[in-house]
Subunit: 389 residues, 2 copies
Amino acid sequence: MPTSRRSAKTPPRTPAAAAGRRTPTDAPNGTPADPAARPRSRSATDGSGRPALPKIADVAARAGVSTATVSRALAAPDSVSPDKRERVLAAVRELGYTPNAAARNLRAGRTSMVLVVVPKLANPFFNGVVRGADEALTAEGFGMIIGDLDNTADKEHRLVDIALAGHIDGALILSGRVPRHGARTMKQAGIPMVGVCVASDDPQIPAVLIDDAAAARTQVEHLVGLGHRRLLYVSGPRGNGNEIARWRGFTEAAAAAGLGAEAIQRAEGDYTFAAGTRAADLFLALPAERRPTGVVAVSDEMALAFIRRVAEAGVRVPGDVSVVGFDGIEVGDYCAPRLTTIRQPSRDMGREAARLLVAAIRGEPSPPGARVLGAELKVAESTGAPPRR
Amino acid sequence: MPTSRRSAKTPPRTPAAAAGRRTPTDAPNGTPADPAARPRSRSATDGSGRPALPKIADVAARAGVSTATVSRALAAPDSVSPDKRERVLAAVRELGYTPNAAARNLRAGRTSMVLVVVPKLANPFFNGVVRGADEALTAEGFGMIIGDLDNTADKEHRLVDIALAGHIDGALILSGRVPRHGARTMKQAGIPMVGVCVASDDPQIPAVLIDDAAAARTQVEHLVGLGHRRLLYVSGPRGNGNEIARWRGFTEAAAAAGLGAEAIQRAEGDYTFAAGTRAADLFLALPAERRPTGVVAVSDEMALAFIRRVAEAGVRVPGDVSVVGFDGIEVGDYCAPRLTTIRQPSRDMGREAARLLVAAIRGEPSPPGARVLGAELKVAESTGAPPRR
DNA sequence: CCTGAATTTGTAATCGATTACAAAGCGCAC
DNA sequence: GTGCGCTTTGTAATCGATTACAAATTCAGG
């Protein structure tokens, strides 16, 4: 019934547009089908007298200047006389004006948004990176769109579309397996990218990394130093960039310690809890005398699940078997035993990568080559001397 | 004055467009300093002859139709003859065309983006919600901007700005403490919102919840059922909506079980590991005979940290004290003892909330009132009978 | 063969900002 | 007083899509 006054003044919008911004509950007519068709949600006075979202022209009118002056007063205050600048800012404040993002993006060709591609957001390690990135991006005036691949390939398309549609100014790629096709396409489109924890095959793409091989060597050296001579390596997915480097580091250090092929076992994993459990089952299936006494896992989640599973079977950690994790997630300190692990500076990595990306977006040439941050061994309770027998 | 005759008959292209798709910036530059001055990152031939990002006019030209037809062929295929539709789609494919988001948003007033406000992304529970939301949003053709409040108040401003700038069509609020000011402002701007795990004080904002009070009662009943008569409640932050309901449920159930005030203790917490540790210290400071034998924590992280801390002090779980958590995060199954907890259907909640939001964005009237999903007690190993003595 | 409705297509207006360009204002030196 | 250069301001073009409107086409019925 209240629909009568809507045509009073408004230009020939569609009915739905004129109805615009009412509470969804007061659907006027009985027809259940008045679907979608809400062309523009903004700028309708909606009968209540409440002003619509102000636009730059409104501000200009109120301040008694041109739209150009308003725009300048906001973007480059120094180029406007103090007098008008004040008037503009006052008008902005009074009206609660925020420049429309779409219009700005369209004209200026920038969005001040960054896409962060995460293989698995649920992983606390990536979480740390994201937080670091968020911190830096926020400080630089950028927003963040998160794309959680969640190990699903088809999400990639969507993310690339987001990029190609000009939603974003740049992308942060946290994936160990860089979306090949996607990265290619995005690069062709000239979208700046920075990798985190991932040495891209493309040297053009800067990256923030730790030295995976060195970290894996450290894991081995720690165990060997405690006296362990038979090791189990719980891997990441085959082909994964980090995995490759870590496996290399592992084998190098094992060889350097004089461990032969017979002293080394490998369980295939993929960083998840489930993989850790599987590795433990593999371990438990071995006859006791052939069991490794030291376990190198390339993620904390696998290490925790491994520990949990063997403990259930009566194997003590670190009494019977020592386990080193990788990442340094917070919860590792709240399980028993506390997890010995490689602590990656996830937050720093995210922050640093975001800064590099912003620099690239601004066109500042960045010094080539990857930034390598330090990772350290954090010794806790899940490792100790091997059983004597 | 020069504008007068351009609408005569010939295609009124701009000079640049007529010149065969050159970049606006390809002035005769001999200067080596070209890096800065990159007004628009898109559409540069970069000397290699590689074509710039195609626009709708390019597609139209290639398909031999008008831009309107291209737009329609993509948005409403049935309104275009099969013949032209095919030609258009082929051209789109060949050129790798993706409609520019800014232009579309500006004109159509929609962005197909949703803001998800998370109090703390690092919390695996919120992670589950986000994943569920992502799932549903992706399916509906929406993208997701995540705003991690990270318990910092000033982030809120930025998020509201993002909303007001028209970056998004709607918002999902996962905060227990809805940003008051922000929510108000966004509501005034007519931005659809849906709450998750949060009963908004505003009945207009639909929400997806569990019954917090009932869940807390279940926690108590479980412990009481095992024979516990002295309980410790490890709380959320004061004033938090969930906290209020859970505390109510806790006290109700305790009263119903005939536990007097002297049988109940309360430790102030905030859902974090650190709070769990603090609660444990408080517990340990009590003389043994006054110690509660059952602990109700309102987050798994607090429960895990509590267990860890008291275990260090030689208190056995569940031998000496039983602990029930809240949330059902994955890692609870990989710590020793496995955590007994309230499993919230986080993923379902996210999915459901996203669907509600999309419906609201599309203007479909949603049945009023909150959706209450079921939470269940998951009995594991951290609870058992109280010590006999 | 003609008329009117239904369908398909094209032309051009439009969204709301930024910014190129030109005009106006101002100060200073000749 | 005039002319030059610098700063401030306004006018209008522009970004790239969607879509209102009108024109063109098709088709059915009389």
